[in-house]
Symmetry: C2
Subunit: 408 residues, 2 copies
Amino acid sequence: MLFVKKFGGTSVGTTERINAVADRVLKTVRAGHACAVVVSAMGHTTDELVRLAEAISSQPNRREMDALLATGEQVTTALLAMALHERGVVAESFTGWQAGIKTEATHGSARIEEIETAPLRALLDRGGVPVIAGFQGIAGTAITTLGRGGSDTTAVSVAAALRADYCEIYTDVTGVYTADPRRVRSARKLEHLRYDEMLELANLGSQVLHPRAVETAKRHGIRLVVRSSFDETEGTVVGDMLMEGARVVTGVACEKEVARIALVGMPKSGKQLADVFGALASEHVNVDVIVQSIVRQGEVDVSFTVAESELTHALAICSSLAEKTRHHSIVQERGLSKISIVGAGMISNPGVAARMFEALERAGVDVLMVSTSEIKVSCVIAQDYLDAAMRAVHDAFHLGEEGVHAHS
Amino acid sequence: MLFVKKFGGTSVGTTERINAVADRVLKTVRAGHACAVVVSAMGHTTDELVRLAEAISSQPNRREMDALLATGEQVTTALLAMALHERGVVAESFTGWQAGIKTEATHGSARIEEIETAPLRALLDRGGVPVIAGFQGIAGTAITTLGRGGSDTTAVSVAAALRADYCEIYTDVTGVYTADPRRVRSARKLEHLRYDEMLELANLGSQVLHPRAVETAKRHGIRLVVRSSFDETEGTVVGDMLMEGARVVTGVACEKEVARIALVGMPKSGKQLADVFGALASEHVNVDVIVQSIVRQGEVDVSFTVAESELTHALAICSSLAEKTRHHSIVQERGLSKISIVGAGMISNPGVAARMFEALERAGVDVLMVSTSEIKVSCVIAQDYLDAAMRAVHDAFHLGEEGVHAHS
């Protein structure tokens, strides 16, 4: 079998950790499997490089920022390849360009367009282990980086290009849980879940896998395994090839530090929504839940959530649109959170949302906004109630009980 | 005019220093000149990378060592390019491969074979400043490094490939001196000297320029300027196009921590010299001065110097050859130094060596070994007498007096 293994920053944070990663790879090779490895920069390397750049320029040139940051992963690849040599394993380091990872010609958040696998294949055919720098690629002769979640995305793309059997994402948790174990004591590790479920969980702040990586895996049907680099526990498999009925609710996710903005009393014209969210998007403000009230006397209220850190920026944009939107007032609220349930079986199970609202009601949690998709229900609530809400919802769907929730 | 400017590790040791380098480049650009810059890794970056590698492996794989070390210069190029952008100067960073610097397929000490200048030319033609990583190149798709003196060599090779008017080597001294100013107070900075003189001085431990770089400059007729990156003092120009007669003696150089080995009483066979120095060379021991006594009763004594740090290794090699060389004994001596005078005019001025011996004699310094070339005389002496010897020789050739020594 061919494994692509990805190790993140904490997994390669020290030379001791790099040696541990080499031991792990050795085990796979000894078991007779082929293996390619994708690594991130060591620990805080990237932060340190960013600090250097910021000491030089408040708005560092983006091409140069990519050239700078790409060195972080290059260091890890060389060190891990040395560690593998030390164990008698044939291995070679690959930067993005050496691995043939071609991206769009944009800096800081380039998308992978193509991977020319010949150099990687050549080494694999010789029984060697390619050690590939995550997060980076090449556009023409310029070094590019992929932005957030870049190393996960590299790993999945390499796995797709090499038609690997598994793409293993090694991280500091042992898998994907029904809820954050730090918040919900009865949270249980999932053995497997579907791409769409993982995608919703990833988007909803479970922070185990970046949504871009999950999307890429889904598109190419690459089986993902999320597992710990610190112990041998079996991880969680993400893939649609599982022979089972869909679970109604797979897990509970949350997002903290959410703020709400409401534009109150806008004349209903059909154009104001485009004006508001167009302006926010062009200023790179991420808007999450959007709710529009029904029309009353020719006026509507529109409210939406943003990350608290973007509230000031978003408010400024909304104020500047006053002439177009002609709202009566802007109301803002900080200190909110979003709690969500995710499950592929939800689509065919009416009443799931109701069960969630009921559980929140019983726990005394006010629901401020609601947003639903085919496999997800999200509620915006006051942050102070988050832990209580998580536990209540987790219990309501029996997520802590092995098997019970699966077809309930 | 086109300038290639090279800044070493201390000149780019901090972000403040990188900003100062950017100011300097800006000045050249503002004066209407074209400019390409070659940089080393920041301060102790290379040492830190070596430490990381050594924590992983006692004999790190050489290909991976090159991939690792090359990141150091890449960081500096990106930061300097950012600093230039900050000043409104068009600039782009270039790794070795991006700059088209092709080397032999060897790691750790590759020689530059060719520079494909199209990418550099394209930027220069747009009025931009290429910022090139020194010390590195590419062989096939493997990253290579040039070894000691690599960044100087990159700068001179780039200057040759671009047919630059000057290659300026910015360092922490203001130029090339008639002797080390820390040893000889009356030492004077030279306005200019010839390649061969610089080559002998470089080889003799003046440590301002690496001999490889000087050789390359000589081969391509590139005018070198050695100058300080910390002030605006005019530096020293190295080149053969100077319209003047050659100076008899240009400067005095020294090398410390030299050791001597003597193989006493070898049967004269004509083959033992090849045996001894072949074995030392294949074990990478650098042998400097070699002296063979005259033949007496069919036997000769051969003595030679090595760096003190290599004495133990060299002795072991000589002992292992005992069967072949059949010497009576090996004599070793530590705590020696070499003092040398260099000057292109020496070749046509007999009596220069005699004047040096005389000066040393007057100063009470015993000469243990002598070695001469067309433009150099070297004497091995006890290290304790080095400073006195330097002053005596410097005075004897009036090197501290402006102009006087030039045609004496």
